[in-house]
Subunit: 180 residues, 2 copies
DNA sequence: GCAAGGTGCTTGCAATAGCTAGCACTGCTG
DNA sequence: CAGCAGTGCTAGCTATTGCAAGCACCTTGC
């Protein structure tokens, strides 16, 4: 598990340095950015999450940081920063790391928040695979389908009435798409 | 189709400014970066590709650039740069644009080269969905499966002998994974 | 004990992403 | 015709990404 400090990293690279006391006192409250609620002095949790995951996958594969950096074509200091959560890699870098780890890029994308956890059984898969629908139509249909599934799993919907409206909105949207 | 010029954009932002003559003479050969072969003065083709695609989706939806920029939460000058291919957006920005366009983020990711075009019928989907396999094991299995499919679709394999080796390498790799 | 080769990390820098301020233009309204 | 609201874009700026150079430490072999 990478250490959660940025220590002497310059202000140039960080949104703001972590409070010293936070670095030394594990029980100290993490200072957060007022606008996002995410930790200051550290890339957001999601960055640390992907870094932990990459380090875990690398250790499972029993290779060193330098070995992975060569396999991935990424510099080893940068890979260290990624694993320790002090840098947030782009999708392209994640793609390279996935190749180096010989896992799918999608697995890293889910951890990084770039992709949602895959959902849906055969219906959703079939909708996505339908070549005759536009991207917009696919999305509308998926929204309608997911809305119905939520209704059904709730039995009697206990959400706001907007849940009901959502369904009608979706079908209204579908009608508007067809009108175009 | 966005214009392919960066005109007076400063050198700070571009790998290199397009030759003036290239800007005015449509038949002029595009100057390329020696190391990558990609156009200079323009982000790589793939950047223009995603930009074109976004503009096409926006025009299909019959909304203006400013309307989409508000829906997406992206500044309108930056969206213009993306559509014209002079900036390469991150996955997070693509996610926001997809939401604004009400299409799936995956559709934009495929265009941007972040995701491959989805492949595989039921076998690949089932492998990906299997919760009992590690990410590494899934990838090895997919590699083996795709290798077999390539062999079968070629009838008599005409590729390098490495294609055969690839299969044996893959199964050997699978054995090593199981040994760990 | 020393050299060599490995490890993970820090620092400073260049290039790029993404934004704000502002521009020029168009069409509409009173 | 002036004012307004819209359009798409340019220029300059700040924050961030990703790297190269180099550090300190560890293990191994001679």
């Amino acid at each position: 598990m990478p250490e959660s400090d940025i220590t002497t990293s310059s202000g140039v690279h960080s949104t703001g340095q972590a409070e010293d006391s936070a670095a030394t006192d594990a029980t100290a409250e993490v200072t957060t950015d007022a606008s996002t609620g995410k930790p200051i002095g550290m890339v957001a949790d999601i960055g640390r999450d992907i870094g932990q995951y990459i380090r875990q996958q690398r250790e499972n594969a029993k290779i060193s940081l330098r070995q992975l950096s060569k396999l991935a074509g990424v510099s080893n200091p940068y890979l260290s920063q990624i694993e320790r959560g002090s840098r947030k890699p782009s999708a392209e870098i994640l793609q390279q790391i996935a190749k180096g780890l010989r896992i799918s890029a999608e697995a890293l994308y889910v951890q990084a928040g770039i992709l949602d956890v895959p959902t849906g059984g055969p219906v959703a898969d079939a909708i996505r695979a339908d070549a005759e629908l536009s991207e917009r139509q696919k999305q509308v249909l998926l929204d309608v389908y997911e809305s119905f599934r939520r209704e059904n799993s709730a039995g009697q919907p206990k959400q706001e009435p907007s849940t009901v409206e959502e369904g009608t909105d979706a079908t209204a949207a579908a009608d508007r798409d067809n009108a175009q």
